[in-house]
């Protein structure tokens, strides 16, 4: 369990892996798993102009 950096809500690791993107269930901010042991998160990287498929 850790906290969303945006709204401080508790978020759980579940079966996520490092680098995975997920949405904070409380505030909807897109977060990235930065480590799993211990579990840490940060805001997901912002989309840049040359990003795409």
């Amino acid at each position: 369990m850790t906290q969303c950096p945006e709204c401080d809500a508790g978020v759980q690791l579940k079966d996520m892996i490092e680098g995975e993107i997920f949405t904070c269930p409380e505030c909807g901010t897109e977060l990235e798993v930065t480590a799993t042991q211990p579990f840490t998160v940060a805001q997901a990287p912002k989309e840049e102009e040359d990003w795409g498929e």
Partner: protein, 283 residues
């Protein structure tokens, strides 16, 4: 029996697609080296990474190009290769290649200054679509209804300042039946196809377009494989529109997403990609 190899996955973030790819590799006993595009460094002489082949899943066109060129320099094959990503990631280069190969595409005119862009729009006729040459997910695309709108949009794009916003890729607005099609090519096969519908004129799944499975007709298969081969082949999502005179290819995506396609069709796209990558590694 294939020989063991280490698969490098070069990525920006882990989305469902990348998670499925990692799981598919694990299920096949293929060791994976994760290469985060914001962490890896590239010396001129290969040093310290294990991958025998790299699957590019970076969403950044710039990072992809430099990294793929480095991997090529190190003698490591990549899916897709540098040249394929270079071509497909730039709509101007992709259109030229598709046209050279005889693949039907929407009528397109390119202009290199705001003044010429107005002329290009007049040549194509209204409504037209104005796209940045690089970038996707429907971002910064504009449907231009008439000359007045054209002048306003071009002024706004010029104000963005970047040299890439001074390259104007102008395309006819294709009257399509409220959907476009995506054929997912892996090697020499179309593994799945879907249609995308949207209230918006842009049908990108990223913008909330809804995906439905679509039967791969011989015509779609032939055209998608032709387009994929034209740009060099590999793992490619070929986007098609049903124009009044027949199918046209408007984009070939070199680092395609496939979450919506997998969900809509039930096809294990990630599994097909990893099988293809293993085949390339063992060539």
């Amino acid at each position: 029996m294939s020989s063991p190899f280490t698969l490098g996955v070069f990525y920006t973030v882990i989305r469902p697609e990348e998670k499925w790819i990692l799981a598919a590799a694990e299920a096949r006993g293929i060791p994976v080296e994760r290469l985060a595009d914001d962490q890896v460094t590239f010396p001129l002489v290969r040093n310290g990474f294990k991958a025998d082949l790299v699957l590019n899943r970076s969403v950044s066109h710039t990072r992809s190009l430099y990294a793929l060129r480095f991997f090529e320099h190190y003698g490591v094959p990549t899916v897709n290769p540098y040249e394929v990503v270079n071509l497909c990631g730039d709509k101007v280069l992709a259109s030229l290649r598709l046209q050279e190969a005889g693949v039907p595409t929407p009528r397109t005119v390119v202009a290199l200054t705001p003044e010429a862009a107005l002329k290009a729009l007049d040549e194509v006729g209204y409504p037209a679509v104005l796209k940045p040459p690089i970038g996707s997910w429907g971002r910064l695309m504009a449907k231009v209804g008439d000359r007045e709108e054209a002048e306003q949009i071009i002024e706004h794009k010029s104000a963005l300042g970047s040299p890439m916003h001074s390259v104007f890729y102008v395309q006819e607005f294709v009257e399509k039946p409220g959907r476009d099609l995506r054929a997912f090519v892996v090697g020499d096969r179309v593994v799945a196809a879907m249609s995308r519908r949207s209230e918006d004129w842009r049908t990108n799944a990223h913008l909330g377009g809804t995906a439905e499975p679509f039967a791969v007709t011989p015509e779609i298969e032939e055209l998608a494989l032709h387009a994929a081969a034209a740009v060099g082949g590999g793992v490619l999502a070929v986007d098609l529109m049903e124009a009044p005179d027949g199918l046209v290819v408007h984009e070939v995506n070199p680092t395609p997403e496939f979450k919506a396609l997998t969900t809509a069709t039930g096809v294990d796209v990630a599994g097909h990609i990893v099988d293809f990558v293993a085949e390339v590694a063992n060539r």
